[in-house]
């Protein structure tokens, strides 16, 4: 592959006393990708990001950013939006954006120009000269995102960029990410909301309890779950069990969660089918056997399901926190 690796982590571990926050995580992020860090709260996403940025040092393992061992050496090429958002209350919006840009190596005049341009572009022109304490939470967060990208970094790291935003502004945030990706920038962001990742990421890292669970494209992720068909019916599904293409039949509830063995099944069922099987064949078989369907669903599993499948029941709870 001719694509350069922007970020390379090798067996990175971070321990706080007896507690292991991140364990043996290795990963490579190619240039130009939109990379999602997915995992429940406390999974080690923020710790990993902090280590990448050299805010904290890993206990063991190596990290290289743009081929350098230290992120601070290439600070002008990195932009960062932390998970917990905050701004200097008494500073004006433009001056905060400009200040962070100068800390990334931009000269003061250029920084000021960029700050105004960005604020105007993302609809904050009228607030550029206001103190940040006068801004709403959403606006403040936008200002902070702009502060993170004002110096036009090649690698942007966003920790939970969608949290605290209303749907409209989540949309804007997605646009910002897509804009940058379109200009060849590499974006790494963490989230625990799978839908965002599913919509905009081309690669994801699944992490839980400090350990890497999956790393790859979305399609690859979905393939980790066997193909399945979900049906809803009051009829006896006995005939389907005997089909050659059907590997297993599980009783599930309305939301697709498998029921325990002691519970009585129906009306929702999940049929695991062979990789080669055609779902239409199952449908045909239902008609043939007089099984009256209220629902037939053979869509790909969502990332959320992949996640639940990979991480297990415990993490599923966590992912909704």
């Amino acid at each position: 592959m001719s694509v350069t690796t922007v970020l390379d982590l090798q067996q990175v571990t971070k321990r706080y006393g007896d507690f292991t926050a991140v364990k043996d995580v290795s990963l490579e992020i190619p240039e130009g990708s939109i990379y999602g860090f997915l995992g429940p709260n406390g999974a080690g996403k923020t710790t990993t990001i902090r280590m990448i940025l050299e805010i904290i040092k890993p206990t063991s393992g190596t990290i290289s950013v743009f081929g350098r061992p230290s992120a601070l050496e290439v600070r002008e090429r990195i932009g960062y939006l932390p998970e917990e958002k905050g701004l200097y209350k008494k500073m004006k919006a433009w001056s905060i954006v400009a200040y962070f840009a100068t800390l990334k190596g931009l000269n003061r005049r250029e920084a000021k120009k960029r700050a105004y341009a960005l604020l105007e572009r993302y609809g904050l022109k009228d607030f550029a000269d206001q103190k940040t304490e006068a801004l709403s939470k959403g606006m403040g967060q936008k200002v902070q995102v702009l502060a993170a990208i004002a110096h036009d970094p090649d690698l942007v790291i966003l920790d939970e960029p969608f949290s605290g935003l209303d749907p409209v502004n989540q949309q804007v945030m997605e646009e910002v990410i897509r804009d940058m990706a379109a200009r060849g920038k590499t974006i790494l962001f963490s989230t625990h909301v799978m839908q965002h990742a599913e919509r905009i990421c081309n690669r994801i890292l699944l992490i839980a309890r400090g350990e890497k669970i999956f790393d790859g494209t979305i399609t690859e992720a979905k393939r980790t779950i066997p193909r399945r068909v979900r049906i809803e019916t009051d009829s006896d599904i006995g005939p389907l069990r005997s089909l050659e293409e059907v590997v297993a039949v599980t009783a599930i509830d309305e939301e697709g969660i498998p029921l325990g063995a002691e519970q009585i099944g129906g009306p929702h069922w999940e049929l695991q089918i062979k990789e080669s099987a055609d779902p239409d064949m199952i449908l045909q078989s239902c008609f043939d056997n007089g099984i009256r369907l209220r629902r037939f669903d053979h869509t790909d599993p969502s990332l959320h399901e992949v996640f639940v499948n990979l991480v297990g029941e415990g993490a599923r709870e966590a992912s909704y926190r």
Binding site: L72, R75, Y80, L81, G86, K90, L103, A148
Partner: protein, 528 residues
């Protein structure tokens, strides 16, 4: 270092914009200016105070009247002196001659005042005997500028008024009770046709001679009120009482002399004789041993500097604490740390805030001299002289050095505290002990100049956190070189040690959320 500079620049710019900074900057000059101005205003605004004397013995009325009259004449004389100086052609033209403070002998302020007013007594009397204001104005006319307001006599400070008509002036107890109404303002006295409030009432009983205290004949207290009674509702202003008391006792003594057959004019002569008394400093070069006014300034100026040092260090360290906590509680710190190292951030903050503090201190010192200079007259010469003495004495460089290290030391501690706390409230708990430690130099400030190389001063000098204050305090007294260098080295070493520990605590603490660490944990961070 470039990034530390950027951080410092922001700290300076943002802090210089705050209201607190401007209030701090202006309040001090305003206070100084006001205290100058207030003195002047107070003198003008204080109304004439009326004193009534009920002298049943009949011996002292005249003496009191004379004393108050003399007081007033002296006021007129002084006011006229200032008037003449203000409007003389010389003062508006060339500058008056500079005073060399090294040559002006140090004086005990109180003794000087006594001598001055005594010798003045004759001058004042002569002035009024030879025609007073009118005559003097005529004589001085050619030397005064044409464009000047009329001379206005100052009003009486204390004025004797006749006793109001009361029912039983002869019965001391009843009279005092009756006079209470006047003192409390329920009844008014009439002066020159106008109603005025009585300020003080003095009651001299008929048998006052029997209550006179004499050496060798101790009197047992009878439990009754004896002697002269001074009644007033304002007992804070003791001037009126002092004047009356002085007049009565002077008259009493005069009578006593006469009774014993001593010639009183002889006594007066004798009382004005004295031998000159000079203080000498054995440490100084031959020929210059005389303790001059400059020496006194040098001796006491450090106290002022210690005070400035303390206020300066404390107020800006506080600023540092506040804004570290702001960054921490807002989580701005994380963005900062993705751009600068913890050390760069710390240095930037230390120096940015130091610059804020220096701006404030510089403005204060400048304002102090500006205010003094702006007031024309002898004060300007005084300020000039003081400035010269200070610049030549090495006190200013000492101040700069002790400020620098003292600031770094305390700012380091405050920064460490700020980095482990999430809220100002948490920080205040930790600040308590630091405050108690810090307040010590303020207590010792006034004692140390009296015994600058004594045990207390020496011991405290060797405690690094007190070195800047105590050594500044002792600066004028030529502390032994060993101590000067030794404590200096210790202070610099300790400062670096504090900053080293601070950088350790800061790096870990600043990212930490939740409860402030326990002492044990802090030590672990410091060792890491």
């Amino acid at each position: 270092m470039k990034y530390a500079w950027l951080v410092a620049l922001r700290e300076y710019a943002e802090n210089a914009k705050t209201k607190g900074f401007w209030i701090g900057l202006l309040i001090f000059p305003i206070i100084i200016f006001m205290s100058f101005q207030l003195q002047f205003l107070l003198d003008k605004a204080t109304p004439t105070r009326y004193v009534a004397v009920n002298d049943r013995s009949g011996n002292y009325m005249e003496a009191i009247e004379k004393e108050l009259e003399w007081l007033h004449k002296r006021d007129i004389f002084r006011a006229f002196g200032e008037y003449a100086k203000k409007y003389s052609k010389a003062s508006s033209g060339e500058k008056s001659q500079k005073i060399d403070f090294e040559k002006v002998p140090a004086v005990d302020a109180e003794a000087m005042m006594d001598q001055f007013s005594e010798s003045n007594r004759e001058v004042v009397q002569q002035f009024f005997e030879s025609g007073g204001i009118e005559q003097s104005l005529q004589l001085m006319e050619p030397m005064l500028v044409k464009d000047r307001p009329e001379f206005e006599e100052p009003k009486y400070r204390y004025r004797l008024v006749p006793m109001p008509e009361i029912e039983s002036p002869n019965d001391p107890k009843a009279a005092a009770q009756e006079m209470k109404a006047y003192l409390k303002g329920d009844e008014k006295i009439t002066v020159d046709g106008e109603e005025e409030e009585l300020f003080a009432y003095v009651q001299i009983p008929e048998d006052v001679a029997a209550t006179v205290v004499r050496p060798g004949a101790p009197r047992m207290p009878t439990g009754e009120r004896e002697g002269v009674e001074y009644w007033s509702t304002n007992l804070a202003d003791t001037d009126a009482k002092d004047v009356v008391e002085r007049a009565i006792n002077a008259e009493l003594r005069r009578a006593e002399y006469v009774e014993r057959g001593v010639d009183f004019s002889q006594v007066e002569q004798v009382e004005k004789t004295y031998v000159p008394f000079v203080s000498l400093n054995a440490k100084k070069e031959e020929g210059e041993e005389e303790v001059s006014l400059a020496d006194q300034i040098r001796q006491w100026a450090p106290v002022g500097f210690v005070y400035l040092l303390w206020i300066g260090i404390f107020s800006i360290s506080q600023m540092l604490l506040n804004n570290t906590i702001e960054e921490k509680s807002n989580r701005i710190i994380e963005v900062l740390l993705s751009s600068v190292t913890a050390r760069e951030l710390m240095m930037g903050k230390l120096f940015g805030i130091a610059a804020v503090g220096l701006t404030m201190l510089g403005t204060w010192i400048a304002a102090l001299f500006a205010v003094v200079f702006l007031k024309a007259g002898p004060e300007a010469e005084l300020a000039n002289g003081m400035l010269e003495v200070l610049t030549s004495s090495g006190l200013l460089p000492a101040f700069a050095i002790y400020f620098f290290f003292g600031y770094l030391m305390y700012a380091g501690m405050f920064l460490a505290i700020g980095s482990v706390c999430n809220t100002l409230k948490e920080a205040q708990n930790l600040m308590g002990p630091v405050m108690i430690i810090m307040i010590v130099p303020l207590f010792t400030m006034m004692f140390i100049p009296k015994d600058p190389n004594g045990t207390l001063a020496t011991v405290l000098s060797w405690v690094p956190i007190y070195t800047p204050f105590i050594m500044m305090n002792r600066a004028a007294a030529d502390p032994p070189l060993v101590e000067l260098v030794g404590t200096g080295v210790l202070m610099v070493g300790f400062t670096f040690f504090v900053l080293y520990l601070t950088s350790k605590v800061f790096r870990i603490g600043i990212l930490r959320t939740g409860q402030p660490p326990k002492i044990k944990e802090l030590f672990r961070w410091m060792r890491s």
